[in-house]
């Protein structure tokens, strides 16, 4: 028995009728409309909205822009407060971090730098919780230093608001998730370099973050870094860490690097066809 409700003259009436079971002649091509409203279309929902099919978008807009990572890194580090914070922590012996906030959950919100959080450890700082609500703030990213000078590791990349949770919460709109993925940045500062991680492919990032296990990710990272460092003549340990990170998450993130005392000079890091780390400016 199936029942349906029909709105007739603003009164809801329930009709019930027997359901033929099983369907003697199921339609092999049921009517389906994709998120673009196209009959049997191929469009699908991604983090930035409806893409594919007849939308004219094959990827989220920022994912098509090779300059996206460098531009965001330069913009962020040209912010006077962020630049001051970088200079304040670059030579710290203990890890010190700050969170990045937006003043509101809409596109017009202003960027704000949170207070310094110091760990007392030279290899870890806890910047959690990463919140997205009006009382505790809209966290859009984070920064911290690596006193030992190593490149970003998997935790540095995956720490942040959990995208899967964010997307499934009824009070959080699709535009807010999009706002977050478009603006997220994780910054790692050493005495020589400033690394910036931004999201290249929100769906891939979300999948990595959802399945993230710090211990196993660290083991994969150290294995890749070890092999690169020992087998690549002249490679630095930072380059080995960069290689490991890009091998693991290169399809999901942009990784850029600039010297700690320079401005607007971020370079995009990638792995080339010879399996080596390259740095270029695609802008």
């Amino acid at each position: 028995m199936t029942c349906r409700e029909e709105l007739i003259d603003l009164e809801c009436t329930t009709y019930c009728e027997s359901t033929p079971d099983p369907d003697p002649d199921p339609d092999p091509h049921p009517v389906y409309y994709d998120c673009n409203g196209d009959h049997n279309g191929q469009a699908h929902m991604a983090a930035c909205g409806c893409i594919g099919g007849n939308t004219g978008l094959t990827n989220c807009p920022s994912e098509n822009d090779p300059c996206d990572g460098v531009r965001k890194g330069n913009e962020l580090e040209n912010n006077a407060a962020v630049n001051d914070a970088i200079n304040a922590i670059k030579d710290n012996n203990f890890e010190t971090g700050r969170k990045f906030f937006l003043s509101s959950n809409t596109a017009g919100g202003s960027f704000q730098l949170g207070p310094a959080i110091t760990s007392g450890s030279n290899s870890a700082v806890d910047l959690s919780p990463f919140t997205w609500d009006p009382s505790r703030g809209y966290v859009i990213g984070h920064m911290h230093n690596h006193p030992q000078g190593n490149a970003p590791n998997p935790s540095d990349v995956m720490n942040g608001v959990n995208l899967a949770q964010m997307g499934s919460m009824p009070g959080i709109s699709f535009e807010e998730v999009n706002l977050y993925t478009d603006n997220f940045a994780a910054v790692v500062v050493t005495s020589n370099y400033v690394y910036t991680v931004t999201i290249k492919n929100a769906d891939a990032y979300k999948a990595f973050q959802n399945n993230f296990d710090q211990s196993s990710a660290n083991q994969t990272w150290q294995n890749l870094a070890n092999n690169y460092y020992t087998n690549t003549a002249g490679a630095t340990i930072q380059e080995a860490g960069e290689y490991a990170l890009l091998s693991m998450y290169g399809n999901a993130i942009n990784l850029t690097r600039q010297n700690v005392n320079s401005t607007s000079s971020n370079m995009q890091l990638d792995i080339n066809g010879s399996n080596k780390v390259t740095s270029t400016n695609p802008c």
Binding site: N153, Q219, Q222, N223, Y229, T236, I237
Partner: protein, 182 residues
């Protein structure tokens, strides 16, 4: 042809600058180590599961054949493996004290509840640092970064063991002290 000459010249220049030799340019001996062929262990993970019946830590697979400049050894009287790789890294040679901590952080990243053991050794013409995550809370990999000024060589040594931490520490000390170059 011009490019070839340039590459040869640059390679020679790099070599002269760093003064760091490859393993095939020295005769390395160590009374604790017995050289074996990398092809004798095609699957490191399977090897360790077979040899270390109750293995500790997480075993990571490694294809020793890919490390073309490295040499593979067994610790005599055990099934422990030691891969010795030469390293030409200007940053490491010129700034040892700042670079070794970055190597330690990269090769032994810590998660909650993990602790690291680190020890520095110096001797006649050499300095070394060895380190690992205590109690096999990560992998069964242990590392030694070694530099011998007299021999003009820098090495990254991967030591894969199943021994208790205190035994590993003593073994790693002895490996470092036993390194000789002719």
């Amino acid at each position: 042809m011009k490019n070839l000459i340039l590459i040869v010249l640059l390679s020679s220049f790099t070599h002269i600058c760093f003064g760091q030799k490859m393993l095939n340019e020295v005769r390395l001996t160590n009374p604790l180590l017995e050289e074996i062929s990398p092809s004798s262990i095609p699957d490191a993970k399977a090897y360790h599961k077979e040899k270390f019946k109750t293995f500790k830590g997480n075993i990571i697979n490694k294809d020793f054949k890919l490390s073309i400049n490295s040499k593979l050894y067994k610790l005599k009287g055990s099934d422990d493996l030691i891969e010795i790789s030469p390293k030409q890294d200007r940053q490491l040679i010129e700034n040892w004290d700042r670079t070794v901590p970055a190597i330690i952080e990269t090769f032994t990243p810590l998660s909650s509840g993990m602790e690291r053991y680190t020890e520095n050794l110096t001797g006649q013409g050499y300095k070394a640092t060895f380190f690992f995550v205590k109690d096999y809370k990560s992998t069964n990999w242990n590392h030694i970064i070694y530099n011998n000024v007299n021999a003009g060589i820098t090495l990254v040594i991967l030591y894969i063991s199943n021994s208790p931490d205190n035994v590993k520490i003593e073994t790693m000390r002895n490996i470092v002290k036993g390194m000789k170059f002719n």
